[in-house]
């Protein structure tokens, strides 16, 4: 079964932490740091699997984000690896070209997506159309995402410096774009941002 799901960026900022077993807060923090340390040192030639305490972590990197699923050692690695990808595809559909900031500003919606696909540490639904349809149903009752985003941009545009979502460097000039998210990365990372490039 899945013990936890973590989405972290390269700098170690947690974008989602979903726990399927009991840990106290200190332990959670420790796990988050350990996972980050184990996963970020690995490169493309490495496997997508790491032994981790008495479990293993199946992870995949999308742009600057690491999607990590911690499962039992006897679990099927490839099934969970594709489980991650399937999850990312649903997020991508849901947020129309998802990027890191979608996960930040809509953290509460991400939990809904997770519960839709994984529950009690098991895979609940694997069919993306089905998930999307149901999530879209919820969406009807929600606000328009672009409105929120616009708000964020306005705030950010009031002279505050911007953070690149890939490398988290803070010295970028402000860019506006009108894709799903109005925050843009620093120029050298611009090609990495659109996760759907990798899908």
């Amino acid at each position: 079964m899945i013990r936890f799901i973590l989405i972290q960026n390269r700098a170690g900022k947690t974008r989602l932490a979903k726990w399927y077993m009991q840990f106290d807060d200190d332990e959670k923090q420790k796990l988050i740091e350990e996972v980050h340390a184990v996963v970020t040192v690995r490169d493309a030639k490495h496997t997508n699997f790491v032994e981790f305490r008495n479990f293993k972590i199946i992870y995949r990197r999308y742009a600057g984000l690491y999607f990590c699923i911690c499962v039992d050692v006897t679990d099927n690695n490839l099934a969970y690896l594709e489980g991650i990808h399937n999850f990312v595809e649903v997020l991508n559909e849901y947020f129309h070209n998802v990027c890191e900031l979608d996960l930040v500003f809509n953290f509460y919606k991400v939990y809904t997506v997770v519960d839709e696909m994984f529950l009690a540490g098991e895979i609940r639904e694997t069919e993306t159309e089905e998930s999307k349809e149901r999530l879209d149903n919820y969406r009807v009752r929600e606000d328009r995402w672009s409105e929120t985003c616009q708000q964020g941009v306005e705030q950010a545009a009031t002279g505050k410096r911007r953070v690149c979502m890939v490398c988290c460097s803070k010295n970028q000039s402000i860019h506006h774009s009108h894709t799903s998210c109005h925050w843009t990365p620093c120029p050298k990372h611009v090609h990495k941002v659109q996760m759907n490039n990798y899908i």
Partner: protein, 986 residues
């Protein structure tokens, strides 16, 4: 459906998140958060009732703050209020807050449960799912108590929406895992199993996780799931069905569901129903076939999904372990993956092959990939892949390739990643021990291990090498020589010093004949390392020094001087100081005899599971199961193969019996405790049956001179070869007749009344060690004849005879030994003993051999005494006295009063009485100074109950201390014999 209102976007939340992200420092962030917390607090406390939207927004902000890592101590009530909202987004935020910040406040729990109950009965699938997800996420006992009865009903009800069924199934799984006692499936079982047939694939995907968990706990109740799972799998794999809906992922039909189905089947043995089994085998073949087909897409998602199913299918094939054809196909498929360009696949293939290696059907097929695996160990970039390669090498290792694999692992160790060195060391140590054909290779390997990776050699490893060297007499000389050479290196690892110190301390005498390794050279070599070592090692070296004093009296002065030096005797470390003081004193006041006794060679270690293996298991955690399985199998092989007679000791020593003598004979135990026990047991029976005629003919042979031998006076005959005069061959040595027993043989016999193992005899040529086990009226004795010289013994032969009436009392059978004993070698002989009735005399052992042309002829008494067949009997005081009174006839009692020849140390006395074989009964004798024991002597003819009482007068002056020993038994000869034997012990 609620209309989309402008406010639903929670603009305030987005602003707040932006602000936090723009904070340049932690302080600024905390300041901003505190401001927000104050704001929210005031809103919550304000007079004005908040509308749903504001509540949702503020609760969501609190949640965000909490997720940033700050404590939140309010807002729970507002979150609970949101649960009863009719708006989806408000309800969702409420449930999310509750799921993330679980609070055990009982008042809140009641409110939460109430809200959940309402939502569950709302018949609105969206709300039902939210409520079920909340239960699944929290999973507390309170929730299980409240809802465990309700959820199964929702799960199987005909009118429940598919999505709700999915949530209900997994919600139930969570509750079952958390509180299995509260989830009673009983009446629902069959309907839950039939969810496997649900037409909605999503429902099956979710429900199967629940079914798998329940099946693994109660396989019988759920066994109908097997045929359902097989037919479902078959429909997916053959893609014949139209119920795939849109569950095809990159051209692979329902990969996750297929994996889960294959996993469910792994809870059960292969299906018994032929049709079901045929269908399943067909599925597995189809999956293997598909792996060979060209991919339908170049995307990695396609191959991953396909291979996920393939690996799960291989797991099932390995789990069944009954289809050689499929196992070999699986192995070939994995062999292809070993060279695949995808690292993931190489890794998984290595991992999967590890389990295949333990199947008898595919072990050989796995072995054909050895070169690829060794190459992986050397060239893979990812350490975890290299580790899998090392695991696989370990798993595929057997007698045929052990040397190659151990050598490869050793050479890899020099460059191995630090994180896996310790485990590698353990594995090398285990393989070297398990497959050691000659133990000198084993010693070499372990010493190499210490040389290459000394820092990673844990205590267990070097303890183990010492245990083995001590238990295997044939390797002691070699080990001493090798460590001596290894210690010559200017820099050697401390672990090497430890092993060297211990082994030279025990067996330095075996190489002392060579002037290059004379006692003093050995000592100086060890002592040159002393100052570089840590305290525990120094302590060990001090013990080695005192052993040197015993082994080599000529080193006494030098060593005493070292012990006397201030750096030892005044060492600031208590342990070192104490050792130095005590050893110095011991060496100066104790007589040679006492010294020899105190510093006697270590007795063989009781055999037990290798501590290294235990350590590896611990290190590997739950994943080490395969190692364990494989090990069990290996034991069987080790014991089954080889020449049985000669390997008896190895077989016995590999048996991981919980206590040294508990199950060696394996006669009584209905269920053997280890794989080796049955083989040891049958061995005994075999020996008895096949050695029968041979031994009786030997008995006839002996008959002729038995009368001559039997005279006890023979013991002071001058024709004796005693220790020390072996070089001047005594006249009698020319005679082919067995020599009369040595004068000290009675004394030697007495030495073994209360113990079963030790050195029976030793002179300058020969050492005879003994190890024996008794059970009921049967016994087995191992004799180890060690050639202490460097010249071979020829015409080596041994005879065991039972003089006089002993012949009808004992049945003794031996196997002949090899006539040639190489210099420094040791041969072993097994003697089986059956006690027919009680007896007094001991069997005679005669050894003849030629050493440098001169005939050596030695006779000894074998330490088989009547007390060896004691079974301890525990009884209460009342029983004891009642039986004592029953045995009141004068001839049933034997009594002796004798002077104490040793001190009256309570523990020593107790140990001796226990060694006698009786049970030591506490709190029976009114005088606590006295000892009482009880036991039953088992002979084939009868059982003789025996009671014993030993009364010391401990208060008397030393030198005047006396014992009174009283024996009562149902047979006069037994009372007298046991009394005589025991009187010599104190």
């Amino acid at each position: 459906m609620p209309a989309v209102s402008k406010g639903d976007g929670m603009r305030g939340l987005a602003v707040f998140i932006s602000d936090i992200r723009n904070c340049k420092s932690k302080e600024a962030e905390i300041k901003r958060i505190n401001k927000e917390l104050a704001n929210i607090r005031s809103k919550f406390k304000g007079d004005k009732a908040l509308d749903g939207y504001s509540k949702k927004k503020y609760v969501c902000k609190l949640l965000f703050i909490f997720l940033l890592g700050h404590d939140i101590d309010f807002g729970h009530m507002e979150a609970v209020n949101l649960l009863s909202s009719n708006k989806y987004t408000e309800k969702q935020i409420g449930y999310l807050f509750i799921s993330v910040l679980v609070n055990s406040n009982s008042e809140l729990i009641r409110l939460i449960n109430n809200a959940i109950k309402n939502d569950l009965s709302s018949r609105n699938p969206t709300f039902m799912c939210l409520a079920l997800h909340c239960i699944a996420n929290v999973g507390s006992r309170e929730m299980a108590e409240a809802f465990a009865g309700e959820i199964p009903r929702i799960l199987v009800a005909g009118d429940t929406m598919d999505s709700v069924k999915q949530s209900a199934a997994l919600c139930l799984l969570r509750l079952y895992k958390a509180s299995p006692d509260l989830v009673l499936m009983g009446e629902w079982t069959s309907r839950v199993v039939h969810l496997l047939n649900d037409q909605h694939m999503g429902v099956v995907t979710a429900a199967i996780s629940l079914i798998t968990c329940l099946s693994s706990k109660n396989p019988d109740e759920f066994k109908t799931c097997v045929s359902l799972a097989v037919s479902r799998l078959s429909r997916i794999v053959s893609s014949a069905s139209t119920d795939l809906q849109d569950y095809t992922y990159y051209f692979v039909p329902a990969p996750w569901l297929s994996c889960k189905l294959l996993r469910l089947l792994q809870c059960y043995p292969p299906p018994e129903d032929g049709a079901v089994k045929g269908r399943l085998v067909e599925c597995l073949e189809t999956i293997l076939n598909k792996a060979q087909e060209p991919p339908k897409s170049k995307k990695v998602q396609h191959s991953n999904a396909k291979n996920a199913i393939l690996f799960e299918a291989i797991s099932l094939i390995i789990h069944y372990d009954s289809e050689p054809n499929l196992l070999v196909r699986a192995c070939n498929q994995l062999g292809q993956f070993l060279q695949h360009r995808e690292t993931n696949l190489r890794y998984l293939a290595l991992e999967s092959m590890c389990t295949l290696a333990s199947s008898e059907f595919s072990h050989e097929a796995v072995k054909t990939h050895i070169e690829t695996v060794i190459n992986a160990l050397k060239t893979e970039r990812d350490v975890s892949v290299r580790q899998r390669a090392a695991d696989l090498l370990y798993a595929m290792c057997d007698r045929s390739n052990a040397k190659q694999i151990v050598a490869e692992m050793l050479s890899y160790l020099e460059t191995a990643d630090y994180s896996i060195r310790e485990e590698m060391v353990l594995k090398v140590a285990i393989l070297a021990e398990k497959y050691a054909v000659d133990y000198s290779w084993y010693v070499d390997t372990i010493l190499n291990l210490i040389r290459i990776a000394g820092d990673y050699v844990s205590e267990e490893v070097w303890y183990r090498v010492i245990q083995i060297v001590i238990n295997r007499d044939d390797v002691q000389g070699y080990a001493a020589k090798t460590v001596f050479e290894a210690l010559q290196a200017p820099a050697c690892h401390e672990n090497m010093v430890k092993v060297g110190g211990y082994i030279l301390g025990e067996f330095g005498n075996l190489i002392a004949g060579d002037p290059r390794s004379s006692p003093l050279v050995q000592f100086n070599l060890l002592h040159s390392k002393f100052h570089l070592c840590s305290v525990p090692t120094r302590a060990l070296l001090l013990s080695a020094y005192i052993k040197f004093i015993n082994l080599f009296p000529e080193t006494k002065a030098t060593i005493q001087e070292v012990l006397r030096s201030d750096s030892q005797i005044r060492n600031s470390d208590v342990e070192l100081q104490q050792r130095a003081v005590e050893y110095l004193k011991l060496s100066s006041i104790a007589s040679t005899d006492v010294l020899a006794t105190v510093l006697e060679e270590m007795p063989p270690f009781p055999e037990r599971e290798s501590s290294i293996l235990a350590k590896l298991k611990k290190k590997k955690g739950p994943g080490a199961v395969s190692v364990e399985l494989e090990d069990g199998k290996e034991r069987g092989e080790l014991n089954g193969g080889g020449d049985r007679g000669g390997d008896a000791a190895i077989a016995a020593s590999n048996a991981s019996t919980p206590s040294p003598s508990a199950d060696l004979l394996g006669l009584r135990s209905a269920a053997p405790v280890s794989g080796a026990a049955p083989s040891a047991g049958s061995l005994l029976v075999d020996v008895f049956s096949e050695a029968g005629p041979a031994a009786s003919s030997a008995g006839v042979n002996d008959d002729g001179f038995l009368s001559a031998l039997h005279a006890p006076e023979a013991s002071d005959s001058p024709l004796v070869e005693g220790p020390g005069d072996s070089d001047s061959a005594p006249p009698s040595a020319a005679s082919e007749d067995p020599a009369p027993p040595l004068p000290e043989s009675d004394e030697l016999l007495n030495k073994f009344v209360c113990k079963n193992n030790g050195v029976l005899f030793e002179n300058q040529l020969l050492q005879i060690g003994i190890k024996s086990e008794y059970r009921q009226n049967l016994g087995r004795m191992y004799l180890f004849y060690g050639n202490k010289t460097s010249v071979q013994f020829v015409s080596f032969s041994t005879t065991v005879s039972c003089p006089g009436e002993l012949q009808s009392q004992l049945n003794v059978q031996t196997k002949t030994v090899e006539p040639l004993v190489e210099g420094g070698a040791q041969v072993q002989q097994v003697i089986n003993i059956e006690c027919l009735t009680d007896f007094i005399d001991a069997p005679l052992l005669n050894i003849k051999f030629r050493y440098g042309g001169a005939l050596q002829n030695i006779s000894l008494k074998l330490p088989v005494t009547i007390n060896k067949f004691f079974q301890p009997t525990e009884m209460a005081a009342a029983d004891f006295f009642q039986r004592w009174k029953q045995l009141s006839q004068p001839q049933q009692e034997a009594q002796k009063i004798f002077k104490a020849s040793h001190g009256m140390d309570t523990e020593v006395l107790k140990a001796k009485l226990l060694g006698l074989g009786t049970a030591l009964l506490e709190n029976v004798d009114p005088n606590p100074e006295n000892y009482v024991c009880a036991g039953v002597i088992q002979t084939k003819a009868q059982q003789v109950g025996c009671l014993l009482r030993l009364e010391p007068n401990a208060q008397a002056q030393p030198g005047e201390q006396m014992y009174r020993l009283t024996l009562r038994s149902s047979k006069d000869t037994v009372s007298q014999r046991v009394c005589d034997l025991l009187a010599e012990q104190f």
